[in-house]
Assembly symmetry: C2
Homo-oligomer: 336 residues x 2
Amino acid sequence: MKTTITDVAKQAGVSMKTVSRVLNNEPNVAKTTRERVMQAASDLNYTPNLAARGLASSRSYLIALLYDNPSPSYLSNLQHGAVEACRRYGYHLVLEPILIEEVEGPGLEARLRRLSVDGIVVAPPLSDSAHLMGVLSKIGLRYSVVAPASIGDAPTVFMDNTEAAFMMSRHLIEMGHREIAFIKGPTTHSSSVQRFAGFTKAMKEAELPIREQWVKPGDFTVQSGVDAARELLSDQSERPTAIFAANDDMAAGVMTFAARLGISIPEDLSVCGFDDTPIAQIVWPKLTTIAQPIQEMGRRAVDMLIDRSGVDPSKPKTLEFKLISRDSTGLANDVA
Amino acid sequence: MKTTITDVAKQAGVSMKTVSRVLNNEPNVAKTTRERVMQAASDLNYTPNLAARGLASSRSYLIALLYDNPSPSYLSNLQHGAVEACRRYGYHLVLEPILIEEVEGPGLEARLRRLSVDGIVVAPPLSDSAHLMGVLSKIGLRYSVVAPASIGDAPTVFMDNTEAAFMMSRHLIEMGHREIAFIKGPTTHSSSVQRFAGFTKAMKEAELPIREQWVKPGDFTVQSGVDAARELLSDQSERPTAIFAANDDMAAGVMTFAARLGISIPEDLSVCGFDDTPIAQIVWPKLTTIAQPIQEMGRRAVDMLIDRSGVDPSKPKTLEFKLISRDSTGLANDVA
DNA sequence: GATGATATTGACAGCGCTGTCAGTCATTGT
DNA sequence: ACAATGACTGACAGCGCTGTCAATATCATC
């Protein structure tokens, strides 16, 4: 037999409503009453029925995380931050994977409607989809966005990819590199577009030429890094002294390929990545990269959803990145 | 204004109950009625209110995943499988991280009680805790376990770590290795204990000696792999020809250290890992390892929770592993 | 000591759905 | 033809909680 709020009320000698007030930390309950109720509740091992509470108050105490399989470590960090924030507020996080291909599909709206959660956190790359945001707004679901760029008018947590890539490029330039190659990410991700933009900006500012053949496409996989490296490094007479890969996996691919060619890092070639995934510390030498505060992003996204005081949707919250200089970048070796 | 089941009933000209029957796929509804209701529901863009449904039927359509930050890729795979299975049944997965230290603590029981989900999937390493299972049973929560070993009488999904490690060891032995070192995982994980047991068994069967100084402790981190490798490889005159690390990260650590020493893999040294994490394909040469069907485990764990037909808790479901032979293992080079 | 403001409490009516049970048909068997 | 079966449907009473609103108790003020 499940104990209900009525049992507690009886035990404490008060009305159901008063028990409810105590349990929800509402004001205007006498201190002694509050204590009596608390005691009764713990005596009876009472736990509220979430469904009933939800039905009566039309809240679910659930937040959904919408994502489309990003890298495990990204997801795991974001989740971690989000769950932590949820717990602070007594909420729970439910997982809702949505393939980016499904976003424009017909079933999406029904699926989101059916969700019945109090709020939604949209993670990249879904956060690039204006269409998705539109549907969310239309349905009237509250949501916040973890995004590389701010779109729409929902609360957004933000990291300046352009600026980060700019700093990283400057880091290389300051070490004397002039022949810098770049491996791009998928052009559908706005974050990878921005990373390239940051690189371009730094090169322009330093009045260095961007050689077309030294800008390679990639898709964020290790393999695409290897492929790009093959093209970049095979011509001995014309080699860049540094390669900036738009993420760590591709940078790892570059390092792998360089190792096979006997090119030593960072003496003959500097390599840097982006994201500071676990792999950055696994490769040898350890990878210079950009650390994003992903957990913090998850936390903030949930904060903005639940505690909307002081949230101005028009002002996305910008979080700081960190350039982590490890061992894969070094002074340029002019011997070309 | 949210549309309710009453609206649909009116629109279709039937009773609420009949709408409910249609929506829940209950039998004994005339085909034409069913269609009329469906039509009405979709016309009105109706979506059931989960809280109300939950209150009335005392089901929540939620499954919780209990975990204590395993590696991101493990978690991500398990989740993926679990979420997929949940979706098939119209359930959702909520995340419930629990630190292993908290398991014995006082707040745990209250926290689990408060959960109000229909079922719980317990992931390793929490699944090693008999105490946790005890609490779960006591509360009367239905749960299933993803575990390296079967404990208690809950439905369990199972992979035979011992057997897998045995096979891997045999793989090395068959390639002519006799001097094989082993790097253990944390002894608190039953899976790492089993992996070592499998290794021992294979060595015994092949009548090969297990040298004590060639069995090193580790904690599943890359660094511990590096440390173990340092001890294992620094004495040139007495080097193993193969190293079996109890997980991929440590194997990667070994490879990194070997590279620094100029030891080439697999010519001078064979290395193998366990788990087939993404890193196995990132290192060079690619790592020979054991692939666990983690996603499948997540899927099964949820299946057993929701569709209990044909589940015999006393017979844990054993899933198959795969030995993936890549490039980090090769024939023993007898030149010692 | 009377007045209004404020703090504290409870009665009651649902929230939107499903379980129970009873009722209406159409179909089958004898 | 009549009972017995089974298919189909609906009325109704909650599930366990919270919102609303009214009632009462307490306090400060002049």
